[in-house]
Symmetry: C2
Subunit: 80 residues, 2 copies
């Protein structure tokens, strides 16, 4: 089954990459950009047919390896 | 308005980060993981009220700065 994990910095954490992108867009003339925050995602192909089981397994992976729960939050989606 | 740009490596391009994550998960005991590909996304806050205008503008930003069209593909979503 395919699953996707979205990882994003918690709102209270400063996002330097997003800040650089905002500044770069402004320099390029896109002065209508107010704010940019950057996140990442992982597309996983996992063996198994039970969606709930795959979700539990991928949530476990997210909290142990894919995200840093101190500064990042994550969301798991099981696709098919 | 809020818009989101998903940027991902084209399928034919090797994804070393994804490979490292796959190997790390396998080492942690998640041997049911077949493949991982990593992507990134940008959450943008853009001035403007017309969804189609914002979409065109953000698509322009994506092709000029946010994605490298040679090796990456992108998808724009206007949220609200």
């Amino acid at each position: 089954m395919r699953a996707r994990v979205y990882v994003t910095l918690k709102p209270s954490v400063f996002d330097p990459q997003g800040r650089v992108v905002t500044d770069a867009l402004t320099t390029l003339g896109y002065d209508d950009v107010r704010d940019v925050r950057q996140g990442k995602y992982f597309d996983l192909e996992v063996a198994g047919t039970d969606a709930e089981q795959v979700r539990a397994r991928v949530t476990d992976m997210a909290s142990r390896l894919l995200a840093n729960p101190v500064i990042e939050s994550y969301r798991v989606e099981v696709l098919a």
